[in-house]
């Protein structure tokens, strides 16, 4: 047996598990998306492109010959991508100072700050989301405090708005941005920072000219880690957005539940997967040393 063969043999269990757990369900989804819906959920074993067709298109209710874009689905797709991008942006804006703050604490106290950042991860997503509801609802913490302080007379409607969804999403995903950013910043050689300061850079220029470019891998990794779950999120948008504006995740969930259209759900899931793959491709291009070299040179 050659070394290569032995290596494959050793890898076999891992490959088998990956095949069953990751590739298997995906394959099932792919197959389902090309079948017809069953009457009470599930699928009928008959080939059909209807599901894929209705991801983006709809037939006129009275004349099936007229095909038009599925405005509802497109709106949901756009809303999901836009929310995921906004969430990523908010996480970057909040995550950068947070990660930098932690990375510049004395050694030994950084672990504590990291722990504090990850605390939200230790609680259930639903509990966290309900907690946010408590904070921002009309008689919640923020409004009560503001009214008692006399800043406002009427409570501000925050819950069940896009703002609430964004706050909730950013809160949930912020650690996924902070951790890789911190890891990248912590690796930046302190002497480079001193060299920059010595060469007449203010603190801000030091950050922009040295810390920012050198922590780019962390920024990109964090963005991908936030963007991918954010684009499929459905619990937070439903609880904080009031369920009025569906997200891609809600739409998929609907097809497998009340909608009883598993093939459409499967096709939508595959669409989501495609979006995630696009995000990953962008990521790989961004961290590829060759591309990095090109855009700096």
């Amino acid at each position: 047996m050659t070394a290569a063969q032995r290596r494959w043999l050793l890898l076999a269990p891992a490959v088998a598990i990956l095949a069953c757990v990751a590739a298997g369900p995906l394959l099932v989804m792919l197959v389902y998306s090309f079948l017809e819906p069953g009457e009470f959920g599930g699928v009928r074993p008959a080939f059909s492109l209807d599901a894929w067709f209705s991801v983006l298109f709809a037939r006129d209710m009275f004349d099936p010959e007229i095909v038009e874009p599925n405005i509802a689905h497109l709106a949901i797709l756009w809303r999901s991508v836009s929310l995921a991008l906004q969430t990523t942006l908010v996480c970057i804006v909040l995550g950068f100072p947070t990660a930098w703050f932690i990375a510049t604490r004395p050694r030994g106290t950084r672990e504590l700050w990291l722990f504090l950042v990850t605390i939200p991860f230790w609680t259930n997503l639903l509990v966290r989301t309900f907690a946010i509801q408590e904070v921002i609802r009309n008689r919640g913490l923020v409004n009560t405090l503001l009214m008692q302080a006399g800043v406002i007379d009427e409570p501000i409607q925050m819950l069940y708005t896009d703002f609430a969804v964004l706050v909730g999403m950013a809160y949930v995903f912020l650690p996924l941005m902070v951790l890789p950013l911190y890891a990248a910043m912590e690796r930046v050689d302190r002497r480079l920072l001193e060299a920059a300061r010595d060469l007449y850079a203010s603190r801000w220029r030091m950050f922009r000219e040295v810390v920012l470019p050198l922590s780019r891998p962390g920024l990109v990794a964090g963005s991908v880690l936030v963007f991918i779950p954010a684009i499929g999120a459905w619990v937070t948008p439903r609880l904080l957005g009031g369920g009025r504006n569906l997200m891609l995740g809600n739409l998929i969930e609907l097809q497998f539940g009340q909608g009883r259209n598993w093939p459409l759900g499967a096709a939508l899931s595959m669409t989501l997967l495609a979006l995630v793959l696009v995000a990953l491709l962008v990521y790989l291009r961004a961290v590829d040393p060759d591309t990095r070299r090109r855009d700096h040179g």
Partner: protein, 362 residues
């Protein structure tokens, strides 16, 4: 570029304490120092004596606990590193890995707001100075150690600082490259006339490069002098043993008169010695005297005032370094011409000519 102001760097009462309470470390303790314009000034001392701390205080990378730093007569004690006309060459070079050689060299100029064309011209001038014109577009990780060193020098020199600070810049290089870079450094300093404050714990390097050297120990400055001055006239035993080889003998002081002393050697013979300043010893006291190895004359047994046994002989190309043991047990180093092949165990006669011995303050 440089005018001959009396003191380009003036440090007074500079103190830096790290930590507090029982764990406080006095890295620098009440240091006074003046560096003249255009001078190559070296801080020499063993590891942990506070050399880097002093340099970082000059650069503004560290804040003093007490004391002041003046550069060109201006008090810069409260200014950050970006507002002091000094630049540093760091021990591990600290080149920006994401920037090309040219962008590294131009970094300081860009921060100072130089225009793109002025910057390009200055960077080219610097590349020519360090003879690396062909490598402008390279990344630092694609350079050899010596090349990185040159780029670090060029980067620090590009903004034409009033003072160039160098913290053991050559310690990462191998011996041969190190020699080359020492010459290179001296050439750069001659051509740019920049005032240099150089940190090293290598006494050979300090003696070879410097106009003046400050010997440091435990956060204090023991002596500031020219290399020859340090070697010939060390202020105390610590300086004498740190700079060059030195042997120490217990002698009896017979008489002192304006810088001269008459002493009785362990064997009984009487010689004239130089009296170091600051001593309080009087006639009749037992004192410590120092002698440099090349001043010790070694001959056949019975030839000199002292008798000794060769303990170790190391041929060093042209000369032989001898470790001798006097009959009273004192160790004495000597450097002899290679001619007689003394072997360990051989008996020799030792002469200490008038003026070879230097009586040190107790």
């Amino acid at each position: 570029m440089t005018t001959d102001t009396p003191a380009t760097v003036r440090v007074a009462g500079l103190t830096r304490v790290f930590g507090d309470g029982g764990h406080a470390v006095r890295a620098l303790d009440n240091v006074d120092l003046q560096v003249k314009g255009g001078e190559f000034f070296t801080l020499l001392g063993p590891s942990g004596c506070g050399k880097s701390t002093l340099l970082r205080l000059l650069a503004g990378l560290e804040r003093p606990t007490a004391g002041t730093v003046h550069i060109d007569g201006r008090d810069v004690t409260a200014l950050g590193p970006d507002r002091r006309p000094v630049n540093t060459v760091f021990q591990q070079y600290a080149l920006f890995p994401h920037l090309s050689v040219a962008d590294n060299i131009g970094f300081g100029l860009r921060m100072l707001g130089w225009s793109r064309s002025d910057r390009a011209a200055r960077v080219y001038e610097m590349l020519a100075l360090i003879q690396l014109e062909g490598l402008a577009a390279r990344r630092p990780d694609a350079l050899s150690g010596g090349q990185q060193q040159r780029v670090a020098l060029a980067r620090a020199l590009a903004p034409a600082p009033r003072v160039l600070l160098l913290d053991e810049p050559l310690s990462a290089l191998d011996v041969k490259l190190r020699r080359e870079m020492q010459d290179e450094l001296k050439r750069l300093q001659r051509e740019t006339h920049v005032t240099c404050v150089f940190v090293t714990h290598d006494q050979d390097e300090a003696l070879a490069l410097s106009d003046r050297v400050a010997v440091m120990r435990e956060g204090r400055i023991c002596q500031v002098d020219t290399p020859a001055g340090l070697y010939e006239a060390p202020a105390d035993a610590a300086v004498a043993s740190f700079v060059g080889d030195a042997s120490f003998l217990e002698v009896e002081l017979l008489d002192t008169a304006d810088g001269q002393a008459t002493v009785r050697l362990p064997g009984g013979s009487v010689v004239r010695a130089v009296l170091a300043a600051g001593g309080t010893a009087r006639g009749g006291d037992r004192v410590t005297a120092m002698v440099r190895p090349e001043r010790v004359q070694v001959g056949a047994p019975g030839d000199g005032a002292l008798e000794a046994t060769v303990e170790e002989a190391r041929y060093e190309g042209g000369t032989t370094r001898l470790r001798l043991c006097l009959d009273d047990g004192t160790t004495l180093f000597a450097r002899a011409g290679a001619a007689p092949a003394w072997q360990p165990g051989a008996r020799v006669g030792v002469t200490l000519p008038d003026g070879a011995l230097r009586v040190l303050p107790a």
